[in-house]
Symmetry: C2
Subunit: 192 residues, 2 copies
Amino acid sequence: MANLLYQNIRRTVAISEEEVEQFRQLLQAKTIQKNEFFVQEGDRANYLAFVLSGGMYSYSVDEKGEKHVIQIALEEHWITDPYSFFSQEKAFYTVQALLKTEVLLISKENHARACDLYPNIERFFRLLVQNAYVHLLQRVAQISSDTAEERYLKLIQSHPNIIEKVPQYYIASYLGIKPQSLSRIRKKLSKK
Amino acid sequence: MANLLYQNIRRTVAISEEEVEQFRQLLQAKTIQKNEFFVQEGDRANYLAFVLSGGMYSYSVDEKGEKHVIQIALEEHWITDPYSFFSQEKAFYTVQALLKTEVLLISKENHARACDLYPNIERFFRLLVQNAYVHLLQRVAQISSDTAEERYLKLIQSHPNIIEKVPQYYIASYLGIKPQSLSRIRKKLSKK
DNA sequence: CGTCTATTTGAATGTACTCAAAAGCGGTGG
DNA sequence: CCACCGCTTTTGAGTACATTCAAATAGACG
């Protein structure tokens, strides 16, 4: 595997491979098994994860016990419960592995240290949140302007490998619909 | 009027009134007339606005020419097209005054300068984006778990004065429904 | 091969939407 | 002061899309 971390950071800030290597010292590699919890609702999110391979997803659970998928993070994406990680309060969401997943973890403390030591890394994380916010605004806009079918098409267009890795009922939940509805949408699309 | 700016910043970071006063020098007061544009889609958002009184809203326009309200900012809230303000690329959204609105404006350049000069202000803006991101995640979670009726109830609970200031069809759009549907929801609720 | 889980299908229901029109409200000018 | 205009909200009737409940198939894995 290439240096995914370097590539990912490089996408946002101009930084040398050496500086990323220094930063890398503050991260720890870990393998998370399929369905293993990374963060559980009510816990504190002490780590931020960078997905090297596999994938994770976050969700909330409503009063009726139903999962609502909020985020899906495949390779080269960062995930945690942002509220809890930033504030160190209890997490709203659960983050769990979709399949066997290799991650690089950074603790809250090392994140703070990295931001102190490496201005480029500080800048990177600041822009990471900024970009996540901008993307999420687009998602909100999309929810109100697009039909479920359009949202599905755009999703598989921007993340073609999501189909292989993520069960359909999680994709449905992410899109804000029920698995049966997604099944019908797919059936309708396949007829074309 | 009290010092809304100081109060607002103070809510997030520990900072002296003097330091805010210094920062205040980099802002300019402006009155925006009802329906006046603050940012137009396709333009660059050169300013970030802090609403002192009145209110503004942002929206996208779809292929059919329909508005989709993304954000509503009443007093003591910050608004702009974040993507455009951060990146200086063309704005996705339009930001417009709901009624006569008094704002404090900060230009992109002064924002950068303020972040350089005043670490507390840098921290404030960083946390502003962070908090906005966390709130938006909650909104996304809410969209998929709550009915339109529940979302409406929660909205007027958290922002009781929104009813007086914002036309019902904008509130409907913000909630992701049509004005007719909101009217029917309100009718149903008033019967209880 | 059997079991467990995921996906698909069917039928009935519900919620929000469209189209269309009426009623309400606020401001302006005769 | 009232009549009129434009804009917002409400109401009605029919429709579309997603949901629910239920059951049948398909796939994955030991």
